[in-house]
């Protein structure tokens, strides 16, 4: 009986070690399954390689920047025009400089020309989503990441994106911000 037990023990230990290895083998197996079936692969999911790009069409983008009267900021796009395909992920940059001697909180508001393009201008990341605080003399480069929805009508060949910065509060004390001042 003892010899039989030792034999069974050996077999079961081999199974145990095999299953321990199997746990680790699941790692490459998992990635292989994901690759073969095309699930969960980061590149395919991201907008960089999206299949929605309409490469038959070109749309000219024009970028414009303004500041509201009384806001002592210089604000300009780093590129004036760009030709893109609808569906393509595009990143552009704007630059803003606070020329005054105090910290100012501003917020940019976008507008579009033609206005009906607004519904198809899908912004993924934009400095206009949040208020921007600039210290005295500070300059900042800010990105806009967006996709032009291919569903936009084929008769639109040029879209203008225009930002206007508004002063929403002069930051004289830090406590002002913490109180969460309403836009003013």
């Amino acid at each position: 009986m003892a010899a039989g037990n030792a034999k069974t023990l050996t077999k079961l230990i081999v199974v145990t070690l095999g299953m321990f290895g199997f746990g680790f083998a699941l790692v490459p197996f998992y990635y292989k399954i994901c690759e073969v079936t095309g699930i969960n692969s980061g590149a395919e999911q991201s907008l960089v390689k999206n299949t929605q790009v309409d490469s038959n069409r070109w749309v000219t983008l024009e970028f414009d920047a303004n500041t509201n009267a009384g806001l002592p900021w210089q604000f300009k796009p780093l590129q004036r025009t760009l030709k893109v395909h609808p569906g393509q992920l595009v990143q552009v940059e704007y630059e803003v400089i606070n020329t005054s001697d105090q910290a100012i909180v501003g917020q940019a508001v976008p507008s579009y020309g033609p206005a009906r393009a607004a519904a198809f201008f899908k912004k993924i990341e934009c400095f206009c989503f949040t208020p921007q605080t600039l210290a005295a003399g500070e300059s900042r480069r800010m990105p806009v990441l967006f996709v032009l929805d291919p569903a936009m009508g084929g008769d639109v060949h040029t879209v203008t994106l225009s930002y206007t910065f508004f002063d929403i509060g002069t930051k004289t004390q830090t406590t002002d911000l913490q109180k969460g001042q309403p836009h003013g």
Partner: protein, 525 residues
């Protein structure tokens, strides 16, 4: 639970007494007893955590705990109940009963058996002491999902090591059980004549050997992600946290059958005894158990329908999960058919067994509801899930453990337990249990999330009902403790064949079972 004095009478070659007897023992009965006491202590520890959780949830808002401590409580309650209470209790049954039921003198590897047990208190100490460490115990849920589990403090490392140790203990115990059952059966006891408890444990042990190493691998990867710069699950390093869930549940779903198959075995011993009829459909019970075990490897992703999965995969896991209801239904049918036209009596083991059949079936049905992928997306991580798994684990696994204790305690101690106390324990438990967990179905359907210390006002009434039930259920377990202690100390002398309808080798032995049994193997016709 054999008493030391009696053991000495029977034992010819002297062995240590006092604490050293228990530390060095290789006797399957001693080790079985230690497993069962360990499980009871863990049941009370994790049960106390459950009562703290329920006390916090008595009202909305934060009363007793802060959210972090609350999360520690839910995490540790889960880990300790599963790895410290239910699994060791079943190992205790296996140690006591498998040799007695197959006519073997002891387990195949007595020294490894001693090791397998004594690893458990070490692991439990590591888990429990992590409450005292900076940052407290683990609070990432018993499922140990990254990224939370990669980010925690020192107690997370300690918990991973404790899981390793408990896994090692289970694997050693399982190897012992498989070897004992395969090689040491009495002459004439063929596989298809084995008592069903032995069958279910054989299959459970195989499940443990196949899945515990996978869990060990998964937590090893967590450990190296935390400390050695690997990126298995760390998305920032190119890893994938969802992969952990796949590996974990590849272990985790067979694990839930590890927690219930021995319960099926215990109930399959008890119902024929008190129905005074042979088990209906013995062979179909064996095949049903085996098919549940095999199918359990194909359903893991139903725990993660909400992580984002192609529709084809959701359909596959949904249907394979529903398929498990078929062999489970065969079992429930056979238990009912065994009772049908039987000469039934309702002693405490039978009461718990019948409650098991009814309430486990409720848990099974709510499991079927959750198996439906579109429904599960709605119910994922709500109290409906909590209700479901407590119906299968409390009124399932735990009630079967109680039933088994009442059934075999006279054989172990030589004394009959108090039937009056047993009935008090049964009725308080079964009523309390339903008051705690039934309202949770409604809470879940109404959208109350699990693992949250605070809740919206409209959930208050059902939570208060559940908390009252939890305290009834929790404190009624003290009745059980008193009953067990009284039975060990004394009581009416138990007959060798304790129950009129009991069949099997263990009942041919005197009560209490002598320290050494079946030194010459019995012959089974």
């Amino acid at each position: 639970m054999s008493d030391a004095a009696h053991a000495h009478d029977d034992h010819s070659h002297g062995h240590p007494s006092g604490i050293m007897r228990w530390l060095t023992t290789t006797n399957h009965k001693d080790i079985g007893t230690m497993y069962l006491w360990f499980a009871l202590i863990m049941l009370f520890s994790a049960g106390t955590m459950a009562l703290l959780i329920r006390a916090e949830l008595f009202q909305p808002g934060l009363q007793l705990t802060n959210p972090d401590f609350f999360n520690q409580l839910t995490t540790m309650h889960g880990l300790i109940m599963i790895f410290g209470a239910i699994m060791p209790a079943f190992s205790g049954f296996a140690n006591w009963q498998v040799p007695l039921m197959i006519g073997a003198p002891d387990m195949a590897f007595p020294r490894m058996n001693n090791w397998a047990f004594w690893l458990l208190p070490v692991a439990a100490l590591m888990l429990m002491s992590s409450f005292l460490l900076p940052g407290g115990a683990v609070a990432g849920g018993w499922t140990m999902y990254p990224p939370l589990f990669i980010q925690g403090g020192i107690s997370y490392d300690l918990t991973i090591l404790a899981v390793h140790i408990m896994g090692l203990s289970s694997i050693m115990g399982s190897i012992n059980i498989v070897t004992t059952i395969l090689n040491m059966r009495a002459p004439g006891l063929t596989l298809m004549k084995m008592p069903l408890f032995v069958w279910t444990w054989l299959i459970t042990a195989y499940l443990l050997i196949a899945t515990m190493p996978v869990l060990a691998g998964a937590v090893t990867m967590l450990l190296t992600d935390r400390n050695f710069g690997t990126h298995f699950f760390n998305a920032a390093g190119g890893g994938d946290p969802v992969m952990f869930q796949h590996i974990f549940w590849f272990f985790g779903h067979p694990e839930v059958y590890i927690l219930i198959l021995p319960a099926f075995g215990i109930v399959s011993q008890i119902i024929p005894t008190f129905a005074r009829k042979p088990l209906f459909g013995y062979a179909s019970m064996v095949y049903a158990t085996a098919s549940i075990a095999i199918l359990s490897f194909t359903v893991w992703a139903h725990h993660m329908f909400a992580v984002g999965m192609p529709a084809a995969a959701q359909l596959f896991f949904m249907f394979s999960t529903m398929l498990i209801a078929v062999p489970t239904g065969v079992k429930v049918f056979n238990w009912v058919a065994t009772m049908w036209k039987g000469s039934l009596t309702f002693e405490t083991p039978m009461l718990f067994a019948i409650a098991f059949v009814c309430l486990f079936t409720i848990g099974g049905f709510s499991g079927l509801v959750l198996a439906v992928a579109p429904v599960d997306i709605q119910l994922q991580d709500t109290y409906y899930v909590v209700a479901h798994f407590h119906y299968v684990l409390v009124s399932g696994a735990l009630f079967a453990i109680f039933a088994g204790i009442y059934y075999w305690l006279p054989k172990w101690t030589g004394h009959m337990y108090s039937e009056t106390l047993g009935r008090w324990h049964f009725w308080l438990s079964v009523i309390g249990m339903n008051i705690v967990f039934f309202p949770m179905h409604f809470l879940g359907l109404a959208g109350m999330p699990r693992r949250i210390p605070d809740y919206a006002l409209q959930f208050t009434e059902f939570n208060q009902i559940a908390t009252v039930g939890a305290f009834i259920f929790g404190f009624s377990q003290l009745v059980f403790l008193v009953l067990v202690l009284k039975t060990i100390k004394g009581g009416a002398k138990a007959a060798d064949r304790v129950w009129e309808g009991a069949e099997g080798l263990e009942w041919t032995l005197p009560s209490p079972a002598p320290y050494h049994t079946f030194e010459t193997a019995p012959v089974v016709k």
